[in-house]
């Protein structure tokens, strides 16, 4: 299948990456090259094969559901581009 500029625009939007309108055809072309390569997977007979979720057949460890870390808001905020009064600050999201 082939990706057109509308699909490229939609994917860029879903990925939250701004792509200028004049760049979309080139992007669609690159997607098509990569997806064309991936397309080989359709040759493989995967009937009855379970999708692999873990490389080692180990069950993830359980632990008690309790707070084990925290209590240092200044450290948490120290790398924020904009932090005010102990919070991350972002552009207004509610009118």
């Amino acid at each position: 299948m082939s990706i057109d500029t509308d699909t490229a625009r939609r994917v860029a939007r879903l990925a939250r990456i701004r792509v200028e309108e004049d760049q979309l055809p080139a992007l669609a072309g690159e997607f098509n090259a990569i997806l064309g390569f991936i397309e080989q997977l359709s040759e493989v007979d995967v009937t009855g094969v379970e999708p692999m979720t873990s490389v080692t057949p180990q069950r993830l460890k359980r632990r008690d559901d309790e707070v084990t870390d925290g209590g240092y808001p200044k450290k948490v905020l120290s790398n924020a581009p904009d932090a005010r009064e102990g919070f991350f600050a972002v552009p207004k999201v509610v009118e």
Binding site: A12, R16, L35, I38, L60, K61, P81, F88
Partner: protein
């Protein structure tokens, strides 16, 4: 005495008092300051290094010296290091200074190792030539004989490879998601080990594709990889995929004896268009291991050709999820807003100016293969193919194969810029021999084993059974001894 060339030599010289860590560290700081042309170190920490070296000397003088004590290292920029810039070679993490230390680096510092600084890499470890770095590419210290063209050190751990090959540090950390330790090691004539998935904690390492990422040592010798892996490995409660199993003594496993070991040679790795010198090197490796007493057996890994396409679904899918956190809110860079911009515009502008072209491409491909209607056709199918690839290896190991020998890369180092006009898939083909290992979670090592006609290093890869780094290192040690690779880059920088 001359300066030690390896971790093992330095360890012994430090313990004997023939050299101090402060002297070693000063030497490397000076070498780094003269090697700007290699672009290997991107954040230097000379003051910190000298403090750590003096502390190491104190420990050594008190008789409390683990093997890595006083050993000067370079650290890939992907590892979070407390108080030292850690930005995964990405513009979007400009100015990011972690408040915490990755488990691997914390373990290395606890064992007394010395940090010289952070090393160049491809942005978010996505690339095979170090050219996607926001700092500009690291450069290979090797050049073709009689030629001054700048070559890639490989990627993504290109700065690590360049620094170790050029003697700017005794060893370096790397990470490997599809070949990012082994391919640069092969391109620069050094040793690079990707451990079994789960052997080394991923905590505090900036994530690319979490089911594939694994950190490992990049060193001058196999013995050094054994020593350094010892200090890096072990269970960590902070990484839920870290394996809670004992860590053996890797250096003690280097017996030099591989008589009776079965070495598999996979017929599917004999690909069309592979340069003759790579094939010759491979045959030489087979001969060396046979002469050392191993049994050579042809094996089949029938799904090999589907590894790269499966990888280029799974890795971008995981990356698109992992990299969603870079949104200009909690850390790193935020784009300037214009009047009327809401939060969506902030996200989109931040990610457009913060991520380079290859990262954007992979995040979008990942978004696409995970999107409604394509999840089954791409992502789930790729995960099923991944299961088949792992099954291929399981079958070989079940039949008694101890390790598998292949070339590390389909070519020697290529010129920086030479792939600029190629489509992205051409660059991806660099990982054709290495990527299967990540999909199957296996340990593998690249050992320098020969040179091209014009003097560039070439590597051979050994792939081991899960958790058998000991056996793998022992076979690699024998291969290293038999190959007798002694080339060093001629200094031009």
């Amino acid at each position: 005495m001359s300066a030690p060339e390896t971790i093992a030599e330095a360890r012994d010289a430090l313990r004997k008092g023939d050299v101090t860590s402060a002297e070693l560290t000063e030497g490397y700081i000076s070498a780094i300051s003269e090697a700007g042309a290699l672009g290997a170190f991107v954040h230097e920490t000379p003051d910190l290094a000298m403090d750590m070296a003096r502390a190491a000397d104190k420990r050594i003088s008190e008789g409390d010296a683990p093997d890595m004590c006083g050993i000067p290292l370079g650290i890939k920029d992907l590892f979070c290091t407390q108080g030292v810039a850690s930005q995964a070679a990405s513009r979007i993490l400009d100015g990011f200074t972690p408040e915490y230390e990755s488990t691997v680096t914390a373990k290395l510092w606890r064992s007394g190792a010395v940090m010289l600084g952070k090393l160049n890499m491809d942005e978010f470890a996505m690339g095979s030539s170090n050219e996607t770095s926001t700092y500009g590419p690291a450069v290979n210290p090797y050049r073709r004989s009689g030629d001054t063209e700048a070559l890639t050190p490989g990627g993504s751990s290109g700065g690590s490879a360049s620094a170790v090959a050029a003697s700017l540090c005794l060893a370096a950390t790397g990470t490997d998601t599809g070949g990012s330790i082994r391919q640069p090691a092969a391109f620069t004539g050094i040793t690079g080990l990707k451990p079994t998935y789960g052997r080394v904690s991923r905590w505090g390492i900036i994530a690319f594709a979490s089911s594939l990422d694994q950190a490992g040592p990049m060193t001058r010798t196999v013995r050094d990889s054994a020593i350094m892996l010892q200090a890096m490995a072990g269970h960590d409660a902070s990484d839920s995929t870290s394996a809670d199993i004992p860590v053996p003594d890797f250096e003690a496993a280097l017996t030099g004896d591989i008589r009776g070991k079965v070495i598999g040679v996979p017929r599917e790795y004999r690909m069309d268009g592979i340069p003759k010198e790579i094939d010759t090197l491979w045959q030489d490796g087979v001969r060396m291991l046979r002469e050392a007493g191993a049994e050579i057996r042809e094996i089949s890994l029938p799904n090999t050709k589907y590894a790269l396409p499966a990888y280029y679904v799974i890795a971008p899918a995981e990356a698109s999820s992992n990299l969603a956190r870079y949104d200009g809110v909690r850390f790193g860079r935020r784009a300037k807003s214009e009047p009327g911009d809401g939060i969506l515009e902030m996200y989109e502008k931040t990610r457009a100016e913060g991520f380079g072209a290859e990262v954007q491409r992979r995040v979008m491909v990942g978004t696409y293969v995970l999107s409604a209607g394509f999840y089954d056709a791409y992502y789930n199918r790729a995960r099923k193919v991944r299961a088949l690839i792992k099954h291929d290896f399981d079958t070989a190991f079940d039949k008694g194969v101890d390790a598998i020998l292949t070339p590390t890369t389909p070519s020697a180092a290529f010129a920086l810029g030479s792939m600029a006009d190629a489509d992205p898939v051409q660059m991806y083909l660099n990982d054709v021999f290495t990527v299967t290992v990540n999909l199957a979670g296996l340990p593998a090592i690249s050992v320098p084993a020969g040179q091209t006609e014009d003097g560039l290093p070439l590597g051979l890869q050994l792939i081991g059974r899960p958790w058998d780094e000991s056996g793998l290192l022992n076979t690699a040690d024998v291969l290293e001894r038999e190959a007798g690779f002694v080339a060093r880059p001629e200094r031009w920088w």
